[in-house]
């Protein structure tokens, strides 16, 4: 379980994350939603030790992250940030192989190759695996980076806007992969996501942030209501039930 205990992060005088406490359930998909600048990405970065919190603490399976060795954490928790511009000449396979670094420290074993193959297959990148990153479309590159995160084979997978740059087909594909990771392999997935319909259809829990504070948290059914969404986004949405799934219509 990931426990976030009254974490705050200040930039100057502005609290980007303001006294946030939240527990993330194991084996489920939890989506972080909220308006731009709500502190979702910052919170995800704090949980994954990319940036340090000013106050409060984060515990992963009962261990404080700032007291755990970075290499051990890297075998437990993986994060993928939104912007992944690389100037390196790297093939997809090379990139995915980097996901095994926490285990092999650069010298790949048979076990590592197995995980790399698996991750590439999961993201349907077999045909492209020897292509270089600079020859790929934005969506393909995004999938390659997610494959690297999968190869890291961590219990917790954190993705910061994984659907950026992706068309509907690949967005659905990635959300289905995440679903399988949670349902079949029991992984815990945390995502920051802007499209609330993707959050509604594919996640188990939703945490809504606004101005650095938690505005609401709960199951999909608890959060995806006209009233709660109005509180979060400050706009009216009608919620339609289509095929037993709650779809928000926010085009006015």
């Amino acid at each position: 379980m990931v426990e976030v205990n009254s974490v705050s992060k200040l930039y100057g005088l502005k609290a980007v994350v303001d006294d946030v406490s939240v527990n993330i359930q194991k084996g489920k998909i939890t989506s972080f939603i909220g308006p731009n600048g709500a502190g979702k990405s910052t919170l995800l970065s704090i949980i994954s030790r990319l940036i340090s919190a000013d106050t409060g603490e984060v515990l992963i399976d009962g261990q404080k992250i700032n007291e755990t060795k970075s290499r051990d954490l890297a075998q437990k928790i993986a994060i993928l940030k939104q912007s992944n511009q690389l100037s390196l000449r790297l093939s997809i396979r090379d990139l995915v192989a980097f996901g095994r670094f926490p285990y092999s420290q650069g010298k790949l074993t048979k076990e590592d190759h197995k995980h790399i193959e698996e991750a590439i297959r999961y993201m349907e990148l077999e045909d492209l695996q020897n292509n270089y990153l600079d020859q790929l479309s934005g969506g393909q590159r995004q999938r390659a980076f997610i494959a690297m995160t999968l190869a890291q084979d961590t219990e917790y997978i954190l993705l910061d806007e994984p659907l950026n740059n992706l068309d509907m087909k690949h967005s659905v594909q990635i959300m289905k992969v995440l679903r399988r990771l949670a349902d079949e392999l029991g992984k815990t997935v945390l995502i920051v996501i802007h499209d609330i319909n993707f959050a509604s259809v594919y996640s188990d829990y939703i945490v809504a942030l606004k101005d650095g504070k938690i505005e609401a948290q709960g199951t999909v059914n608890e959060i995806i209501t006209s009233l709660t969404l109005k509180q979060i986004y400050g706009m009216d949405m009608s919620i339609q039930e289509i095929n037993n799934q709650k779809i928000c219509v926010y085009f006015s």
Binding site: I79, R89, F101
Partner: protein, 315 residues
């Protein structure tokens, strides 16, 4: 495997150029010339390797392929130390003073500066490698201004002695510090082995490196100190020569098109040795000492970069 054979080719070429430097027009007094040439070529091999490795490390840490360590003002600091010695102690200090002591002094200053620079950055709220570069750039300019200020104040005769130190040259290398700097460089390379596995990951950027379990602050701080020591070794031996690194490292990148430091580091070092020894052969035998090696390298480097630009434009 293609990488291995290319590396082997570079190695052969390097050996050939080094042998060429040793034996071309050796003349009848070989028992006099050979040891002197050997000493010079040792300096070139050491300087070339050290500069190439320092540049690769620096570019990996900054994730930028057009930077050289000179941007954080390390060579300017070296010039400042040399000038200050003459300014306060007189020109005899440079010639009379124990060369090892001078070398040690420059080394201490440059490493201390790298550490202070990093500490300043570390205390800041937003840790950003570009902030470090900017800070270094400003310090470099500041050191440069202080240096010129002192240079215009001192006796013109004394200035000439400093001037010798201002330009990289292999015609009057500081062979007295060869042993000391070889030991320092060897020790630093041994220390670097500890970090060699992290380099590939670091080139993916800070966030990915942390995600993959690299202790980023710890590693980058030590790599910067390694760079500072390597640059001081090269500068103490032949003078400010960091421009060479930019050229040779990019040639190595172009030749190998890889991210693997296990290939890049030796490749850059070999290209660097070839450039230095080959260039010095030209200086001594074609131009008969009428020009400096740094001029030739700058010229060839400039032409090469224009070629790269034109090629990239077309692609």
């Amino acid at each position: 495997m293609r990488e291995k054979s290319k590396l082997l080719f570079l190695l052969c070429l390097a050996v050939a150029v080094v042998a060429g430097y040793m034996f071309i027009e050796l003349g009848p007094n070989w028992d006099y010339a050979l040891p002197r040439r050997a000493e010079k070529i040792a300096v070139m091999v050491l300087t070339g390797t050290v500069i190439a490795v320092a540049t690769v490390l620096f570019q990996t840490v900054t994730n930028n392929r057009i930077l050289t360590p000179s941007i954080i003002g390390l060579d300017s600091l070296y010039m400042l130390v040399q000038t200050a010695l003459v300014f306060f102690l007189g020109s005899t200090s440079l010639t009379v003073m124990n060369k090892q002591l001078n070398f040690g002094l420059s080394l201490v200053f440059m490493v201390a500066f790298a550490l202070v620079l990093y500490k300043t950055l570390f205390r800041r709220e937003v840790q950003n490698i570009y902030f470090l570069l900017l800070l270094g750039l400003i310090f470099g300019t500041f050191f440069g201004s202080l240096t010129s200020f002192m240079q215009v104040m001192i006796d013109p005769n004394e200035f000439q002695i400093i001037q010798d130190r201002m330009f990289a040259s292999f015609n009057n290398v500081q062979t007295e510090v060869l042993v000391a700097s070889s030991i320092v460089a060897a020790a630093i390379f041994l220390y670097l082995i500890k970090f060699i596995n992290y380099l590939d990951v670091l080139s993916l950027g800070k966030e990915t490196a942390i995600n993959l379990g690299v202790d980023y602050d710890y590693t980058v701080k030590r790599l910067l100190v390694i760079v500072a020591v390597l640059i001081s070794v090269a500068t103490a031996l032949v003078g400010p020569i960091t421009f060479l690194g930019l050229l040779v490292v990019n040639v190595a990148y172009e030749m190998f098109r890889t991210f693997k430091h296990s290939i890049l580091l030796p490749a850059s070092a070999l290209v660097s040795v070839i450039a230095l020894a080959g260039g010095q052969i030209l200086v001594e035998h074609v131009f008969s000492f009428s020009t400096q090696l740094s001029v030739i390298i700058n010229f060839v480097g400039g032409v090469y970069f224009i070629y790269l630009l034109v090629k990239e434009n077309r692609a």
